[in-house]
């Protein structure tokens, strides 16, 4: 798990997003144990309160659950919420487009076009040297 230090959104939301992303990618699956609050705060150098808050929210959403005395686990009936992850990606793209003076239609058409071209020439992430892209 990785956080982007430049991302100004509240950290607990960023951690929640990382968990959701891991579920979509498949690196996290039903009944997997989650790192303890202590482990994750140490790894991310994040205030333990922030990690607790993220876990509590995810528990409320039914993504995680607590086994008494054993720690936090991914819910057995968890479904990767692709829509939430897709919405976040879409929001970022839209914001970026607007900043460059592009319209929604222009952006969508271009994404389609680039995706078609990618079959011949795979995309290289422009930000591959940047920290915090997650997995």
């Amino acid at each position: 798990m990785n956080l982007d230090p430049r991302d100004p959104r509240p950290l607990y939301l960023q951690i929640m997003d990382e968990v959701r992303r891991a579920l979509v990618v498949g690196t996290l699956r039903a009944e997997d144990p989650m790192p303890s609050v202590r482990e994750l705060s140490s790894q991310l150098v994040v205030n333990p309160r922030t990690v607790s808050q993220a876990y509590q929210e995810l528990e409320r959403e039914g993504v995680l659950y607590v086994r008494r005395g054993q720690g936090t686990f991914v819910s057995p009936d968890v479904r990767a919420d692709r829509r939430v992850v897709a919405r976040e990606v879409a929001k970022r793209a839209l914001l970026e487009a607007r900043r460059s003076g592009l319209g929604v239609k222009e952006l969508i058409e271009t994404i389609r076009k680039v995706a078609t071209e990618e079959v011949e020439e795979p995309l290289v992430p422009a930000s591959s040297s940047k920290r915090g892209d997650g997995k």
Partner: protein, 299 residues
């Protein structure tokens, strides 16, 4: 969370001859906070912590740690504190590190021997070294073990990662995060490396020339400071008032400014002045805090 303040100062002022080191500082460090005190060199960060430790006597004002006056009830107040001073001067220079640890441990009934051993190991301390022969970085690591080892309710850390190499720096911060997870602690930490505390800090105080010019929670700070992307007509001139707030016109049609203040009010003022605000982006904690150091702030 009890909701009270763990560390409080009431109008602390301190002068050295003609130099004003602190000018009416009212610090409020909430119980359980990780409070970062930022400011340029000489802004008064170290002096503030020294006053709290009663190593410096304030010319005016009082300070409390968990409600204990730091002068009148100094020993009791300091018993609650783990302190890493700006300059690692341990006294006891003839002692071995092991000896100094034992010596300090004897003063604290809460000293956690296994934990102190673990920390020494994690910091790579060589316990058979004489204190006088330690490098700056080693001294700093020893100081951290001494401060954390008794699991005090309050930690006062003065540039705790200064002099440490990058690997030990990040290990130190991870250990601090673990410490917080294991022990309820209030941390007041002074630094000029605020970026490395980006995700650990939840409160920020900004000292400028001895004055506390800002003090707020992470959320409040991020609401108060924004990056404004603005369209301006060619040749547009900012009003005097906006210039004071940090607005600079540089003859281009689009500009970006980091501004401090109520977002709606700032947008109104900019619109009234003929500028068109396209977007207001929040900033990361460190960048938002630095905004208070970069230009005059209208309050």
């Amino acid at each position: 969370m009890s909701g009270g303040n763990a560390v409080t100062t009431h109008g602390i002022s301190k002068r050295y001859g003609r130099e004003t080191a602190l000018d009416g500082v009212n610090l409020r460090v909430p119980e359980g906070a990780v409070y970062v005190l930022v400011g340029a060199n000489g802004a008064g960060k170290s002096t503030t912590l020294k006053v709290l430790m009663n190593l410096e006597r304030a010319d005016a004002g009082t300070a409390e740690i968990h409600g204990l006056d730091t002068v009148r009830r100094g020993p009791e107040a300091r018993a609650q504190v783990g302190y890493v001073p700006e300059r690692p001067d341990h006294g006891y220079r003839w002692m071995m590190c092991r000896g100094l640890l034992k010596h300090v441990a004897a003063y604290y009934p809460t000293w956690d021997h296994p934990y102190a051993d673990r920390l020494s190991l994690a910091f790579g301390l060589r316990l058979d070294r004489q204190v006088a022969t330690l490098s700056k970085g080693e001294s700093r690591r020893l100081q951290l073990v001494l401060a954390l080892g008794h699991r005090p309710p309050v930690l006062l850390l003065d540039e705790p990662t200064d002099g440490l190499d990058p690997v030990v720096r990040s290990r130190t911060l991870s250990l601090l995060a673990e410490h917080l997870a294991d022990t309820p602690t209030t941390i007041l930490i002074s630094t000029h490396h605020i970026h490395e505390l980006e995700s650990l800090a939840d409160h920020v105080g900004v000292l400028r020339d001895g004055r506390l010019v800002a003090q707020m929670s992470r959320d409040e700070l991020q609401r108060t400071v924004g990056r404004y992307r603005v369209e301006i007509p060619m040749g547009w001139q900012a009003t005097r008032e906006l210039q004071v707030a940090g607005v600079r016109a540089n003859g281009v049609r689009e500009a970006q400014w980091t501004l401090v203040g109520d977002q709606r009010e700032l947008i109104d003022r900019l619109t009234l002045a003929g500028a068109h605000v396209r977007e207001v982006q929040p900033l990361a904690l460190a960048d938002a805090a630095l905004a208070f150091l970069e230009h005059e702030v209208t309050r």
